[in-house]
């Protein structure tokens, strides 16, 4: 089987995010970069599928030079090869252009199934997997927490409010992965050492023949407002302090 897993490099979930003073983006200084956690479920599921059914896992990522680390991590987990779409014209591009770049790569790979994280934890747009399926003209099942494959079809479970959907689809299709699908493995040491020698194709937008002008642009980024400082109720009499607390909660905070 030909399996593709798309990965994005994002700031570590524990990174302290600072918005650049001019609002053009985040300050990347000192940030630790990791594989988008939702993509890890996709890579893991791709590897499990390969281990069960045979075949090959190809990792595809659109991102700046540093995104190569994330591709290598996926190769260390056990994927066979990678494609890195790296082009300054695509840095911080929108969901549509990212999906178009992925589609241009993936078309040539002739995949049976494609995994994407259900969203990336940096911009939280949650659109790439769906747009990718649309461009490729194949079915998509989003936010999947369980996946089975038999007789050339997949059966996926997708939780919705108060219930879960069981969705069947033909192949090829795009699956977007959700927490709960699996527990991603950590790369083994032999895997890490082998990853150095696995092939990664690097391509730019021109080579893929895609338009680089984004359809959506981030006009401005602003940090959330600072939290107002806490208030300390002074005094010696606990009863009076409690009464004052209740008054503040009711009249100022308006929460009771």
């Amino acid at each position: 089987m030909n399996i593709v897993a798309c990965v994005k490099q994002v700031p570590d979930t524990e990174a302290l995010i600072k918005v650049k003073p001019d609002g053009s983006g985040i300050d990347e200084g000192g940030i630790k970069w990791v594989m988008n956690p939702y993509d890890e479920y996709g890579v893991e599921e791709a590897l499990r599928l390969k281990e069960a059914k045979g075949g090959e896992v190809t990792i595809v990522s659109v991102g700046p030079a540093r995104a190569m680390e994330t591709i290598r991590t996926a190769l260390a987990m056990g994927a066979e090869k990678g494609v890195h779409v790296s082009d300054p014209l695509l840095d911080n591009t929108d969901a549509y252009t990212t999906a178009a770049a992925l589609a241009a790569v993936i078309k040539g790979l002739n995949p049976d199934i494609i995994f994407c994280g259900q969203r990336a934890i940096d911009d939280d747009s949650g659109q790439v997997g769906s747009i990718l399926a649309a461009i490729l003209g194949i079915p998509q099942v989003t936010i999947v927490t369980k996946l089975e494959m038999a007789d050339g079809k997949i059966k996926a479970i997708k939780p919705i409010e108060g219930a879960q959907l069981v969705i069947e689809s033909t192949l090829p299709c795009v699956i977007t992965t959700q927490k709960g699908l699996n527990e991603p493995r950590y790369a083994s040491l032999p895997g890490i050492m082998k990853a150095k020698k696995k092939p990664v194709d690097v391509k730019n937008a021109a080579a893929l023949g895609i338009a680089t002008e984004p359809k959506a642009k981030v006009a401005k980024m602003t940090p959330p407002p600072d939290r107002a400082p806490g208030k300390i109720i002074a005094g010696d009499d606990p009863a009076a302090k409690a009464a004052e607390l209740v008054r503040l909660l009711r009249e100022e905070a308006k929460v009771i």
Binding site: S188, L189, P190, I192, M193, K196
Partner: protein, 379 residues
């Protein structure tokens, strides 16, 4: 950071170890510390991840790497916050090299792969109740009788010894001194070999430490590593790397204690301000950070030398002693900054304080390191 020593594969290894710790160790650590032992599955999991085989040839189930993969491994595994656990899990690092240096192909093929896979535990039995520093004068006797050695004596402080499958054991086969020492692999279940005691310790709780007894223990002669009376070389082979590892462990423990202290000092309020609001605390933290950095840089530079194949017996002893002293100081101040909480189990610095006391004792004591250094200085 430290790009001259570490590259992408080192970073990936660190990431994997962090995940391994978060998933396989942290949720159970307190329990294992109380129980005084780690589950056998942890060896298997570490073996599967390739951690136990780090630095060994592929033909024996290992994964070759450079010295800084080993440094990175040591630094990261220490971040689980229990030196004993890491030492017990990594005990093969002192038990396997003598087999690889002295053993026949058949012995290597038999003993090494199952250990690196995490299926078997190999430990090193050198120290005896009568003395550990004076290795050359160890007393455990092995007398050749036909196709066996009859071994009598005991070993103590043996890390992971309570359920070891293979004990790389230093015995006396010849006359006094280091020229009378041989190494035998003594397997679990050998008649006359028993675990006489599990030792209760100040720290290193999750590491089982044993006293082993050999009474007319019959060891097949084929378990001799290398030639008779030439075993001391097998013990020596460990010295350089074991001391480097201990030095790295010491700086890693100190760094963890420092980080915990910074976190605590920022949060804890005294006299209306956080502890970091006091110059005394800030300066204490500054000195701790300086000690950590100094030992780290010394250790890295010596690791690089070892990696380049330069002998540095003197320097590695200096590194171990320097990092040990630095760590002693840092964990002391870490507990101090934590106040009463630093004295309580709930805070990791309490364990680091106890666990790190071993650095001045194990792998050659502080005094023995100074003996080596002064001899190398020609004194």
């Amino acid at each position: 950071m430290y790009n001259e020593y570490f590259s992408e594969s080192h970073t990936m290894l660190r990431d994997s170890i962090r995940r391994f710790i978060a998933r396989e160790i942290t949720p159970h650590l307190d329990k294992w510390e109380e129980e005084g032992i780690i589950p056998l599955e942890l060896y298997k999991k570490a073996g599967d991840a390739g951690f136990i085989g780090l630095g060994y040839p592929e033909e024996y189930g290992g994964t070759p790497g450079d010295i800084f993969h080993q440094v990175a491994y040591m630094e990261e595994i220490m971040r689980c916050g229990a030196v004993g656990l890491a030492s017990s899990l990594g005990v093969s690092a002192i038990a396997v090299p003598p087999i690889l240096v002295l053993g026949t192909e058949e012995q290597k093929k038999k003993y090494v792969p199952p250990v690196l896979a995490g299926d078997k535990i190999a430990v090193l039995g050198v120290t005896e109740p009568s003395g550990g520093s004076d290795v050359a004068n160890l007393l455990t006797r092995a007398v050749r009788k036909g196709d066996r050695y009859i071994v009598n004596g005991s070993k103590t402080f043996i890390t992971s010894g309570t359920r070891a499958d293979y004990v790389t054991t230093a015995v006396r086969t010849g006359g006094p001194g280091h020229k009378g020492i041989s190494i035998l692999i003594i397997e679990k279940g050998t008649p006359g070999f028993t675990v006489s005691k599990k030792l209760e310790k100040m720290g290193w709780w999750s590491s089982d430490t044993a006293e082993l007894s050999f009474q007319d223990c019959e060891v097949p002669a084929e378990n001799l590593l290398g030639e008779e009376n030439k075993g001391f070389a097998g013990i020596m082979v460990n010295f350089q790397k074991e001391r480097l590892y201990l030095a790295v462990e010491a700086h890693a423990v100190a760094e963890l204690a420092l980080e915990e202290s910074i976190k605590y000092a920022r949060e804890r309020v005294a006299f209306g301000k956080p502890l970091t609001g006091f110059q005394v605390t800030r300066h204490k933290l500054a000195e701790m950070a300086t000690l950590v950095e100094a030992s780290k840089q010394l250790n890295y530079s010596i690791a690089a030398k070892i990696g380049n194949g330069q002998p540095c017996f003197k320097e590695v002893c200096m590194a171990k002693n320097f990092a040990t002293k630095a760590c002693d100081r840092v964990v002391y101040d870490a507990v101090q900054i934590h106040g009463g909480y630093g004295y309580c189990r709930e805070y990791v610095v309490e364990r680091l304080y106890r666990d790190s006391r071993l650095f001045a004792i194990g792998g050659g004591t502080y005094e023995i390191m100074n003996e080596v250094i002064s001899k190398q200085m020609g004194l």
